[in-house]
């Protein structure tokens, strides 16, 4: 079952300490956003980067 944060405000992020857990939770938020057709730029606290 997909585990996601209840919101995308970044509040949950502050409570998490282990950076690996943070990375997993960030990706879960991204997965949910893409599934819902949201732009990744709407995800507060997550920085998407491109090299081009």
């Amino acid at each position: 079952m997909e585990q996601v944060n209840k919101n995308d405000t970044g509040f949950e992020k502050e409570k998490l300490v282990n950076p690996i857990i943070q990375m997993i939770e960030d990706k879960k938020r991204i997965v949910k956003a893409i599934k819902n057709g949201q732009s990744l730029s709407t995800l507060k606290g997550i920085k998407i980067v491109a090299s081009l």
Binding site: P19, K27, V31, L40, A50
Partner: protein
């Protein structure tokens, strides 16, 4: 060898391409930080990609297309070549029961990287599931030992919880 599909970078920083079978792929790198015991903060990039808005898959539902692998690894190679930090992590989630399979496939794809890398695979127990991860670091990264030590410390913290 296939040519990569034509891709574009959208406003949100994701890479997008459409295959000949009309599947829409989205590739992204999200930036994360990894502190170490010496108060350094390392930057890691989490790689992900989706097909038609999904990260999960149904076996044998999509015809094999070598252009997909070639395009995604072309993007990853470009990212490695242009980015100074050169540390990537790829997580495979088990929502569909195929995380291990995806991890094996991704490990095969990593043979297409044109930089000398080390790959450190882990299985992370998290919320009742196993997350398969591959940490990819350029072999000559001068901070490699610090990054690996820090990553393994945090990994042990999760496993021993």
């Amino acid at each position: 060898m296939s040519l990569p599909y034509k891709f574009y970078v959208s406003e949100d920083g994701s890479y997008n391409f459409i295959t000949k079978e009309n599947h829409k792929y989205l590739v992204y790198f999200s930036e994360s930080t990894l502190p170490d015991a010496e108060n350094n903060t390392h930057i890691l990039y989490s790689l992900g990609f989706s097909r038609d808005g999904e990260h999960s898959c149904k076996p044998f539902s999509v015809k094999y297309d070598s252009g997909i692998r070639f395009t995604i690894m072309f993007i990853v190679n470009d990212f490695f070549n242009k980015n100074d930090h050169k540390t990537l992590i790829y997580f495979c989630f088990d929502d569909d029961g195929y995380s291990r399979h995806r991890s094996i496939v991704f490990n095969q794809w990593c043979k297409d990287l044109n930089v000398s890398i080390e790959k450190h695979n882990s299985v992370i127990p998290y919320k009742g599931q196993f997350v398969y991860s591959s940490l990819i670091i350029v072999r000559d990264n001068p901070l490699k030992s610090l990054i690996l030590k820090s990553f393994n410390t945090y990994l042990e913290e999760i496993i021993n919880k």
